[in-house]
């Protein structure tokens, strides 16, 4: 068993000798008789059941904490990309229309959704949309704020990414890049090399050394808008309760 790690030089030799004497002693004690297959299976089964129980118990304890944290992060992100909103409602995409309520018995996680931000008078002032697509290393999750009336962006935040540290991670660490999305660029976005822009209102300067990652972010936003714009253009249903005179984007 342990002899095969003798490639590690003399330092381990002492240990190997000790282990050998131990194994020798251990083999002397119980007679080397066949253990029944049933016992082998039973041992593993019992161990598996116990392990499963333990995991379930800890999961019961940690799941609420994890979910709460995720919800908080999402909430923070929505308020960050929709500056100036008072509150927001989650709308689900049910049969190609936006709806606050889900069909009876449906699972929440199966529906695409947008977060509609409203000002203090209950007017819909912006929509936060999240979407994930492949970046340089792995899926980049982006949430961005969109103003359906003016067709401009109000903000962008990377929810999750595994981009290269020091290069690709500039998509959320380089404030010069991030700030461009908060300055209300028009859509669809157009990525340009830094300095090569023609001053168009929909240009975003890409990051030198992180072209793929910055292109991915711009692509994600454009694709998300391609998908959601026709739906948003149909109008956002009125908000419940608080909003009486909710003027809705057409």
């Amino acid at each position: 068993m342990s002899q095969d790690n003798n490639s590690n030089g003399n330092r381990i030799d002492v240990d190997i000798q000790v282990e050998n004497s131990d194994t020798a002693a251990a083999q002397d004690a119980p007679a080397p008789e066949e253990v029944s297959t049933f016992r082998l299976v039973a041992t593993l089964a019992v161990a598996g059941v116990l392990a499963g129980l333990l995991i379930v118990l800890v999961n019961l304890h940690t799941k609420p904490i994890i979910d709460k944290y995720k919800a908080e992060q999402l909430q923070l992100a929505v308020y960050e990309v929709l500056p100036g909103v008072e509150r927001y409602d989650t709308y689900y995409l049910v049969n190609d229309t936006l709806s606050l309520a889900l069909p009876a018995g449906a699972k929440e996680s199966e529906f695409k959704r947008v977060y509609v931000g409203r000002n203090s008078e209950g007017q819909a002032t912006g929509v936060a949309i999240s979407r994930g697509e492949s970046g340089f290393q792995d899926v980049i999750m982006v949430i961005f704020g969109y103003d359906p009336i003016g067709g401009t962006l109000s903000g962008m935040k990377i929810l999750d990414s595994k981009e290269t540290p020091g290069l690709g991670d500039k998509i959320f660490k380089d404030m010069n890049f991030v700030d461009q999305f908060f300055k209300g660029p028009e859509t669809p976005l157009l990525g340009v090399k830094t300095g090569a822009g023609k001053g168009q209102p929909n240009e975003i300067d890409m990051i030198t050394g992180a072209t793929i990652s910055s292109k991915a972010v711009i692509g994600i936003i454009n694709h998300a808008l391609e998908e959601w714009k026709p739906i948003l253009d149909k109008g956002i249903p009125e908000a419940p309760a608080v909003a009486e005179s909710a003027e809705v984007a057409q």
Binding site: D22, A25, T43, A47
Partner: protein, 215 residues
């Protein structure tokens, strides 16, 4: 029959048989997640937890585990504790969990942990196994923090997130990339090897000198 003392069991894993630097076990996490000291600490903490718990449990249950299925049983125990560590980290240290990502789940296949169970915990008392796990865990932590410190200082110019140099410092991005992990490990092993060689060369020379002096 036993030739080591409790103290030796504890000390051994820290330096003389350091899992990463001497035994070359657990290199995958040592290379992958040491791009910052905070990540190295989180990884070591999770590994420490898994190893200690598995060692105690396996040395407690060693009589009930038939020899034929011992490896599967060890893996089952280790995987359970890794899942627990994964969930606990996600709940209480979400930022680190996000950074470490899949590498937490990959603690299961860290051969260092399985190695300790097979070669030590399955043959020794609970107390000795715990000491051995602590020692190896500390050794692992030392190695990872050493690499993490080296890479973070050069790669981002900070230590545990505190900037060390002025704003004019140009970080060596390569040090926090995977290539930097290999370079760092290589340099650390080179330094250790040179040190050992130096000690070896010195020892016989001293003897010769004393012999000459006495004659």
């Amino acid at each position: 029959m036993r030739t080591t003392t409790a103290q030796q069991d504890f000390i051994r894993g820290i330096w003389k048989e350091n899992p990463v630097l001497i035994q070359m076990l657990g290199l995958c996490p040592a290379l992958a997640v040491t791009n910052s000291v905070a990540n190295a600490l989180a990884m070591s903490g999770a590994t420490f937890f898994v190893m200690s718990c598995s060692s105690v449990l396996i040395s407690t249950c060693k009589r009930f585990i038939p020899h034929e299925v011992r490896i599967s049983a060890y893996i089952l125990v280790i995987a359970t504790f890794v899942t627990l560590a994964d969930m606990l980290l996600q709940a209480y240290a979400p930022a680190q969990h996000k950074e470490l990502g899949a590498f937490i789940a990959l603690i299961v296949v860290n051969c260092m942990i399985l190695g300790r169970q097979e070669s030590f915990s399955s043959k020794n008392t609970v107390f000795r196994s715990l000491l051995d796990a602590f020692g190896t865990g500390i050794g692992f932590t030392i190695a990872l923090v050493m690499m993490g410190g080296f890479r973070e200082i050069l790669g981002t110019g900070s230590f545990l997130g505190f900037p060390l140099f002025g704003p004019n410092f140009e970080p060596w991005v390569i040090m926090v990339l995977p290539a930097g992990g290999f370079l760092t490990l290589g340099f650390i092993l080179l330094a250790l090897g040179a040190f050992e060689q130096h000690k070896k060369d010195k020892a016989p020379r001293k003897q010769v000198q004393t012999v000459e002096a006495s004659s």
